[in-house]
């Protein structure tokens, strides 16, 4: 997943925008982008700021597009739902289509990098509900 997506993504449940991103692992790709102007319309995921409040250049945007987020987490600050990014792909499924075993393993694996309020009160799964906290 590229930071670019943060300009488009919203919480699938309450449509809150923008989502908060925490990156666990990323890498730089060799592919070159040649956009002539700032790419994102409203929100810059890299700077976690609205485009209108940031001084961005096309050059910065093209550089940003080379960065691939391998693993991370997206958080909705309105409903406190969290969504995993695994192997480059963000997973934004509704609660009833998520697999609790997989999602809880994800929380445990990256517990040190995930905010406390998500680990303990995050929806739809958290480590308090399982008795681990």
């Amino acid at each position: 997943m590229k930071y670019r997506l943060l300009d488009l993504l919203a919480c699938p449940i309450d449509k809150d925008f923008p989502l908060k991103l925490i990156v666990f692992q990323e890498e730089e790709r060799s592919i070159e982008f040649k956009h002539g102007s700032v790419i994102c319309e409203l929100y810059c995921g890299l700077k976690a700021a609205y485009v209108k409040d940031s001084s961005l250049s096309a050059e910065e945007c093209n550089k940003c597009m080379k960065r691939e987020i391998l693993n991370g987490i997206l958080i909705c600050s309105k409903c406190n739902r969290w969504y995993p990014i695994v192997d480059e792909i963000p997973q934004l499924l509704p609660d009833e289509l998520r697999e609790s075993n997989e999602d809880l393993s994800f929380l445990r694996k990256y517990a040190e990098k995930i905010p406390k309020n998500v680990l303990e009160e995050g929806k739809p799964f958290n480590l308090v509900a399982t008795g681990e906290r």
Binding site: M1, K2, R4, L5, L8, L9, A10, C11, P12, I13, K15, F17, I31, F33, E41, L42, M65, Y83, E88, I89, P90, Q91, L92, L93, P94, E96, L97, R98, E99
Partner: protein, 229 residues
């Protein structure tokens, strides 16, 4: 494990993703025709909604794309097929689109909605309406009930009730909601695409919305749906 019927369809696609990718290579014929006639020249930011193995991306060269599907294994096929173009992959489900309002200039949703029950199919269309820009275009398709007139098809399908069918894929079965063009048109209208033009082509229903030349303020008000005339 999820017990929702959509979870079952997703597991099926996770299971058959490699075989699907080998056998479903060409883009949708109707979409190809539209592209050939220059319909998609100014496509801007496109969403391929229910992208499967992204075969329809081949028809839409050189444009910024977001491709989404609920099957992770299908998305893995997309990543494998990607050829250095700017495509962003997201795992999500059609009735809960994870995008902000009116963000896409163009949306295609080819042969995906028919895997949803009627109320969910309507919900999926409402979501597409929400994320489509006021000056955008949208093409949605679904298998037609006409398919059931084909004996070959009937050998691998079983009606559950009404318009709901289970269709075999080898030893696996897929859920289908099969309807005629008129019903598809009504569904699009009900979901807020009052300006949709719906037609039957081959064994599919297609609904097309084109707001690129519409004047501000006229969106969705004047019905051009030929099935309603």
């Amino acid at each position: 494990m999820t017990s929702d019927y959509r979870g079952e369809v997703r597991r099926l696609y996770d299971t058959i993703s490699e075989e699907f990718d080998k056998t479903r290579v060409r883009p949708d014929l109707f979409l190809e025709k539209l592209v050939d006639r220059g319909f998609l020249r100014e496509a801007g930011l496109i969403l391929d909604n229910g992208c499967g193995n992204c075969r329809n991306l081949k028809a839409l060269r050189g444009r910024t794309m977001v491709a989404g599907d609920f099957s992770r294994n299908m998305l893995k096929q997309c990543v494998k097929n990607a050829s250095g173009r700017e495509v962003h992959y997201v795992q999500y489900e059609l009735t809960h689109l994870p995008f902000r309002n009116r963000v896409f200039d163009s949306i295609i949703c080819i042969s995906a909605i028919h895997h949803l029950r009627e109320n969910d199919a309507e919900k999926a269309l409402r979501e597409m309406r929400r994320v489509l820009s006021d000056r955008g275009w949208m093409l949605a398709s679904s298998w037609s009930i006409k398919t059931t007139r084909d004996r070959k098809f009937l050998r691998r399908a079983r009606r559950i009730s009404g318009n709901y069918f289970m269709v075999n894929w080898g030893p696996h079965r897929r859920f289908y909601f099969l309807i005629d063009g008129k019903t598809f048109s009504k569904m699009c209208n009900k979901a807020g695409f009052r300006d949709a033009i719906t037609l039957e082509y081959g064994m599919n229903n297609y609904s097309l919305v084109d707001r690129r030349t519409r004047e501000a303020g006229a969106r969705g008000e004047a019905s051009t749906d030929k099935n309603n005339r």
